[in-house]
Structures are given as structure tokens and as C-alpha cells.
């Protein structure tokens, strides 16, 4: 099964880190991705730009309404994801627990819908 691990973390905490500390955190992500790839679990992942760069779009009464900022102002915002190929949801939980943000934020594990649409 394909499982997405959605990473929620406090952006302010990240902003408060020194260059060196950030490099250390990023290094842990790279190492985890490498390990997951070697275990044939890793399908992909991305880091999102911060919520300051978010734009929200709604269509109401046929009109496109654009607003600056994220869908919701929350302390811990979605900051990225991993996409895993796992045998069970528990296995995905094991991998999710190793994502650095799990130690201060939270990782939400969600199966990807089976007939997932890949637009090509």
C-alpha cells in the first residue's frame, strides 16, 4: 500500500534555528530518505515552502476568490511529506516515527486512495 506521511511542525521553531542546526536537521532527513530508498520503501517526498508563501483559492458562486496566506493559521503547519510503499499501515507508522519532526511536531500517516489518479 502507498502511504503518505504528512509532516506538521512549528515554523517559528525552524526559523529560530541557526544555519548549522538547520543543516543538521536536513542531514537527518536526507539520511532517512536514503535508508527508506535502500529498503525499497521510499516513493518520494517534498518539502513545502513556509505558510508565508501560501495562497488560498476558493470558488464561490462561480467566482474565483484568492486570498493571501494558508487555509488556516495554525501553530503547527503542514511542511512536507514522505510517500512510502509499505506492506501494512503499522510499517508506515514505524517509518513515520523516524521523521525528525515527529520529535517536536507530529506526523500524520494516511493511506493513499487505491485508484490514485496519476495524470499523464
Amino acid at each position: 500500500m502507498k502511504v503518505m506521511a504528512l509532516i506538521y511542525a512549528d515554523e517559528a521553531a525552524w526559523d529560530g534555528l541557526s544555519e548549522q542546526e538547520r543543516a543538521g536537521v536536513l542531514e537527518r532527513y536526507v539520511a532517512l530518505a536514503r535508508e527508506a530508498r535502500e529498503a525499497d520503501v521510499m516513493l518520494g517526498g517534498d518539502e513545502l515552502a513556509g505558510t508565508r508563501a501560501a495562497t488560498t483559492v476558493r470558488v464561490r458562486d462561480g467566482e474565483v476568490v484568492v486570498s493571501d496566506g494558508p487555509y488556516a493559521e495554525v501553530k503547527e503547519a503542514l511542511g512536507g511529506y514522505f510517500l512510502f510503499e509499505c506492506a501494512t499501515l503499522d510499517e508506515a507508522v514505524d517509518w513515520a516515527a523516524r521523521i525528525p519532526a515527529a520529535e517536536h511536531g507530529a506526523v500524520e500517516v494516511r493511506p493513499v486512495h487505491v485508484d490514485e489518479e496519476e495524470v499523464a
Binding site: A49, R52, A53, T55, V66, S67, D68, G69
Partner: protein, 385 residues
């Protein structure tokens, strides 16, 4: 400036360069006359200044590449009929809906009007560092979210133009009915908005609402001296000394409105201008209500309905006007709802209710001149506060 921004790929650098050139142009043109090709002149001057700056900043990345791209820009002698569009592109970038409205206003004043950070901060009674930070954030956001520096394609124009006009109107309103501070009218912001609005008409000669907005600003602006009494107090339209109205401004506003109406695509700004024209020409209250009816049909927003209710009352039916105001619960936090209601209650002889409504307006108003006005009304009703 957008030409520059595009070749430089860096809005901030382009802005600094054009900032200088545009400011220089505004100082020089009234004196030396407009050059043959103003757009090209701006780009040429700005290019020279940008080259200077890049030469100075040895550490600037991609320096050689940037210089090479700048050299390829058209010079003043080239035919650069596209340049007005480039300026317009910048307006649309600054007024992009993905930016917060206050960021749109600040960016427009800085990038399009060429005001300095200090001037904008002063105009909005904001601390300069706060405003500077707002600008830095906005510019960073333009780049980070990928807002394009271009005039939107035709199919996007209808949804984007109102946002641009609204920013201009906000600038004007902040000058005309300052929401804070002790002066009622800040002429600098009004003049800036009118200038910006004229620019939009030059750049989009086929957009009736751009002309409608300009007409509205000219007509309202023509009364701004009469709106303040000797003590800096608010003077209502019906009490104004018409000799203080700027006849030339009114004439220009009427001409502009006519041009807009000839395009036969009415819109909210044209109708508001028509109402302002009605006041300037002393039209009957009934005629003004008729235009409000049309406006409320096109734009049934609460503020328009509030104005229509007042017009209905002034045309003689005070009770009907009051009944219409009762339907506007959503404006409860808006001081003008309460001052309008108070005024109509006073006319209806319901002094107690009028005093309560004036009191509520007073609670909600931050402008000192308007507060003085409301207190004087309360005093007339025997309520000293």
C-alpha cells in the same frame, strides 16, 4: 519598470533603479516638459542607474550576466510603444490578490508612485521600520509565490481590474477620510490617488471603470477643501460653502465621467461618480436616489445600501430611509452607519435615539476631526461628553 524587472529578474534592484528615474522624471517633466517618449526615457534613465548600481556592488551575483541583459534593453530612440504596458504590468503585480490589501497599497505607492518608505509610513501614520518590513515581506512574497510581473491576459482582466481600482480608491479614501490622526483630509494621498488613476486611464483607455474611478476621485476631490471648516472640523455636504469647491476639478470630473459613460458599460465607479456629479451640479434628491437604485442593483454591498438609504431619506422619506438602515446589521462596527442613523433620527425628532446613535458612532471613530463633529452634534442634543 517591469521591463527592467524582467531583464534583471530581480524586482528589488529594478525597483530601486526605476524609483530614482521615476522620481527624477516627476521632478523634471513639469519643468523641462515631457520628453518625446516618456516610457523610453524612464527605462533609459533607470537602466543607467541600475548599471551604476551593479557596477558599485561588486559582490552582486550574476553581475556580468545582468549587465549583458541590460545592454540589450531598448534605448530612448527605439520605438518602445509597449512600455506603458510594462508600467501597467507593475501595477497589476503590486495589486495581485495573493497579497494582503495593505501590502498591495504600500507596494503600489512605493513601486508605481515612487513614494519613499518614509513618505508612505507618514501617510499611513505607521512607524517607518514597520512599513519597511511590510514592503520587504511583500516583495519577498512576490518572488516566493511566483506572482508574475505582467499585465494579466485578457481573460483574467475582468477579475483583476477591480482589485487594482480598489487599491487606488483605498489610497484616495485614506487621504479623504483619514481613519486615524487629527487631520481630516490628507491632500498628499488624494493627489497621489488621482495621479495613479490618470495613469490607469492612459494605460487602459478602453476601460470605462478606470475613467469612472478617475471621475469619482476628481469630483470628490474637488470638494475636499470645503469639507473642513476653519477649526479643522468636518463640514457636511449640505452645509458646504460652494465657493470653496474646485470648479476646474468638477469640470474635469464631469468630462471624464462623460467619456466613461459613452463606452456604455456602466459599473459601480461610474455610478458613484454620477452621484458625486449630481451633488456637484445640484441635481434633485430624487434623481440621486434613481442613480443609487441602479448602483445598488450592480453592487448590493452594505455600504452602497447605506448610502442609498440616506439618499432616500434626503429625498423626503426619512422613515423609509431609517427602515432601510435597520436592515444593515452587518455594518454594526462601521461608524458611518451610526452617524447616518443618528442624523435621520434627529430629523425625525427622535432626539434620545439620535443621541444614543451619535454616541455609538463616537465610540467607533478614530479620526479626531470627525470625533469633534460628533461631539458637537451630541451637544446640540443636550448631551455633553
Amino acid at each position: 519598470m517591469a521591463i527592467l524587472a524582467r531583464v534583471l529578474g530581480d524586482l528589488e534592484l529594478a525597483e530601486d533603479a526605476v524609483q530614482d528615474a521615476f522620481a527624477a522624471a516627476l521632478r523634471r517633466w513639469p519643468r523641462d516638459g515631457t520628453p518625446r517618449n516618456p516610457g523610453a526615457w524612464i527605462v533609459t534613465t533607470a537602466r543607467n542607474r541600475a548599471i551604476d548600481r551593479i557596477r558599485r556592488e561588486q559582490a552582486f551575483r550574476r553581475k556580468a550576466e545582468l549587465l549583458a541583459r541590460l545592454e540589450r534593453l531598448p534605448t530612448e530612440d527605439d520605438d518602445v510603444t509597449t512600455i506603458p504596458d510594462e508600467r501597467l504590468a507593475l501595477v497589476f503585480t503590486c495589486c495581485h490578490p495573493a497579497l494582503a490589501v495593505e501590502a498591495q497599497v504600500a507596494l503600489t505607492l512605493r513601486e508605481v508612485c515612487g513614494l519613499t518608505t518614509a513618505e508612505i509610513a507618514r501617510a499611513f501614520l505607521t512607524a517607518e521600520p514597520t512599513l519597511a518590513q511590510r514592503l520587504v515581506r511583500a516583495k519577498r512574497r512576490v518572488r516566493a509565490v511566483g506572482i508574475p510581473i505582467r499585465v494579466p491576459p485578457a481573460h483574467l482582466l475582468p477579475e483583476r481590474l477591480p482589485g487594482v481600482l480598489r487599491v487606488v480608491y483605498l489610497v484616495f479614501n485614506e487621504g479623504y477620510a483619514a481613519s486615524a490622526g487629527d487631520r481630516l483630509v490628507r491632500h498628499d494621498l488624494c493627489a497621489e490617488a488621482i495621479r495613479l488613476s490618470k495613469l490607469l486611464c492612459v494605460l487602459m483607455p478602453d476601460e470605462p471603470e478606470a475613467f469612472g474611478l478617475l471621475a469619482l476621485l476628481l469630483l470628490q476631490g474637488s470638494r475636499r477643501s470645503a469639507r473642513i471648516g476653519p477649526g479643522g472640523d468636518l463640514v457636511l455636504l449640505r452645509d458646504q460653502d460652494r465657493a470653496l469647491w474646485d470648479d476646474e476639478g468638477i469640470a474635469e470630473g464631469l468630462r471624464t465621467l462623460e467619456r466613461a459613460l459613452r463606452m456604455r458599460r456602466p459599473g459601480p465607479y461610474q455610478l458613484q461618480a454620477a452621484i458625486a456629479a449630481g451633488h456637484a451640479q445640484g441635481s434633485s434628491p430624487e434623481a440621486i436616489v434613481a442613480v443609487y437604485d441602479e448602483l445598488a442593483r450592480l453592487d448590493p454591498s452594505p455600504v452602497v445600501r447605506l448610502n442609498r438609504a440616506v439618499a432616500v431619506a434626503l429625498a423626503g422619506d426619512v422613515e423609509h430611509g431609517l427602515a432601510l438602515l435597520e436592515e444593515l446589521d452587518e455594518l454594526d462596527g462601521y461608524p458611518y452607519l451610526h452617524s447616518a442613523r443618528a442624523d435621520l433620527l434627529r430629523r425625525a425628532g427622535r432626539d434620545g435615539e439620535a443621541a444614543r446613535a451619535y454616541g455609538r458612532a463616537l465610540e467607533l471613530t478614530g479620526n479626531e476631526a470627525e470625533r469633534r463633529f460628533l461631539r458637537s452634534r451630541l451637544a446640540e442634543l443636550g448631551d455633553e461628553r
